[in-house]
Subunit: 245 residues, 4 copies
């Protein structure tokens, strides 16, 4: 496998995760984590066929043992796992329901995929990022969390989802303050709008540019990764020009 440094992307499906993987694969070997292999297999093949290096790892980020296994597999297959960038892009927990109809397991699901998953992923990857703190002044090691509108504003009937997204934002903010001075860049992206993916094809918002381009999100993440230690962003909002906010 590649001696290149790695980018680890958790939450790779048909949408944003794939765009991020393709973008980072231009420079790094990429490890793609998803629960179901069918989520990453076509992309792993696509990247490897195109001359890149991609490794798919089946993992449930909300489960400590599963995360542990995933990073052990990465270490083994990469011959040491120099990790230059990591993205926590796991969705899940998006449930819209009158509060009194929410089930405890729906709340716990939102927590597991956002709060706990972000925590476990960060604990696994931060030691690897810290080890690269002096490797590249132009691209300090970077950990990016994908957030949502619901990380800033908790709307009616979105209590569980917002609780999860607020928690991820707390995590990213606390980690930025703790690990920035140690040379690791931690950032949080607020995706404010519908992303233009296979799943959202059916939603006609009345304008060709009303959805967010996942490739443009990937460019934003790459830009964040290129910020030098003298100029880190912790938070960036990303929305279509036509979005109401």
């Amino acid at each position: 496998m590649s001696q290149k440094a790695w980018a680890v992307i958790a939450g790779v499906g048909a949408g944003t995760g794939s765009s991020i993987a393709r973008r980072f694969a231009k420079t790094y070997a990429v490890a793609l984590l998803a629960r179901k292999p069918s989520n990453f297999e076509p992309l792993v093949k696509e990247i490897n066929d195109a001359g890149g290096h991609a490794l798919g790892i089946s993992a449930d980020t909300s489960d400590a043992q599963s995360i542990k296994n995933a990073f052990e597999q990465l270490k083994k297959e990469s011959g040491g796992a120099k990790v230059a960038a990591a993205v926590y892009n796991v969705g899940g927990g998006l449930v819209k329901k009158p509060f009194l109809e929410l089930k405890e397991e729906e709340l716990e699901g939102a927590w597991a995929s956002n709060g706990r998953g972000g925590f476990l992923f960060a604990q696994a990857v931060l030691p690897l990022l810290l080890a690269q703190a002096d490797a590249s002044p132009d691209h300090p090691p970077t950990l990016i969390f994908t957030g949502a509108t619901a990380a800033l504003k908790a709307s009616a009937t979105f209590a569980a989802f917002a609780a999860g997204k607020f928690a991820v934002r707390a995590l990213s903010q606390s980690l930025a303050r703790e690990f920035g001075p140690k040379g690791v860049h931690v950032a949080h992206a607020i995706i404010d709008g519908l992303i233009d993916t296979e799943q959202t094809k059916g939603y006609d918002l009345g304008h060709a540019e009303a959805k967010i381009s996942p490739d443009a999100i990937a460019d934003a993440y790459w830009y964040l990764h290129t910020q030098p230690r003298t100029c880190f962003s912790n938070e960036i909002d990303l929305r279509p020009a036509r979005e109401k906010w």
Copy 2:
């Protein structure tokens, strides 16, 4: 037991919870929830001896069955449980540690006592509050969550605690938007500073007024409860005049 309406206060110990209980006991019968009976017993006695009505209920707010039992006990002992006010004042989860030393159970503890507990308590009490929506135009039924500085700002080494407190803030915001139009007032108090309690007696902040008075917090909660439907607050910050912020 009293035919008066009830205030239910979860998280009653030596500090803020007791002050809130005493304040609301001037008008209502009060149900005091805490894990250990020793936390509420002296206060129950004190309030009842003074001519008020207090009922102590042992409950673990992070456990669905325990919350269910608590509200069944309240219903039975109160002869129907007309609930006019509820306060979620459960602490817990305050752990300050380098992120990589945090244990998963510490994160889950912060989540359980803040996010899950707030959720379970709100699900149990909101139907009772909704039933009183037209009972008192001067004091619409009210649900107040005790928050902290860490609900707005996630500092380094406070990742787990901040995740829990951000989640509670999300909950309170979403519930305010959903239940306000139905006549239930949901609010969140940001306690920004050290509260002046038995436990904090040892901390000398160099000035007699450098800690927050728990009785003054209780007055703030009572004021929130008196806001009419034409003028609800969702968020209020409370800090000593001398606090740096």
Copy 3:
């Protein structure tokens, strides 16, 4: 004239200012500032007839000399001007227009009545409030600014108004941090919704309780004034239960 302490309220017309004046007149002599005497005359008469003490002063708060004259008049007529509370409730600057149609004088008007006026009023009244810092531990001297939704969120076509309201919020925050430790309470109220006044009678929002009660705003200001030095709020939001936000 009264030996009582005074409350000085700038921006008294048919709406919120009058409610605030009536509320504070229950305890204090009140000085009512407005540009046109016709704005305060009926209220001055009403309060004095009811056994209170009210003094109307014609003043343009956006003009330094006018503010100076007003406070000199207050000093003279009050026999020394012990000021316990002050409210900056000046409206103005509310212009909704496509940005490219805004005139420079509309921007300057929003600035004058909000930013500059708030500044001049604060500079005139803070020395008087500081002088009362030890007068009443139960009601520390208080300066409250009336803010608006536009202090937190700058909507399209509200650029000038939002610039003014953001500036007032900055002022209130900075003053709270500087004067809190000196015993003066500075607070900012975010009035989020239409206030129920003579001027807004024509707006039918489809529900009897869809507008904010000015008397309830006045109660909120009075509550803020009663906060002890151990428990100050800097910001409170006030909106009808039915408001979308």
Copy 4:
């Protein structure tokens, strides 16, 4: 002069403005506005000598007539002024003083260079940006405001400066909402820390990377300019990794 599109940068001195000018001069002809010609002359020469196109224009952005003259000069000298990007980077108003010692003219100075200047510049440049809305899908026309920590948090003794910076943030937010749907990207950068310039050379913060690199700020602005209409950011924070926040 060049047939290239133009970037107009207001507030060009030894620091950030120059870095922004150099960055945008790689693609565009650049118009550099500053009060004193000595502020832009060396840079104009440097850019033109290096094969770029730079035009220095003496202007006081807080004066409507001066701004009008500046854009007329640009139109004339550019042969029509196709403007692809504009940056409002005017400093000024940074005064730190106990509030009661602030002079009215210091407040007005902070307002003039921030609020009014931003307004006048935006009114002059937005029609030119709108005219280019369909010119380049990859680089939609962009207006960026340089903000500061004081745009989010008003510290004690910074009342005047914070009022100005809050106002600029209001402006940028309102304009983003109004002009985004029309294809013009409006953004606000929160510069949180000391910028590494000639003027700050004397401040030893104890670490080589404790100040923000102005070139990195310029890269951030350029990145914002490259965002497509499907993925605009309105706000980005920029600070050294070691900054306390």
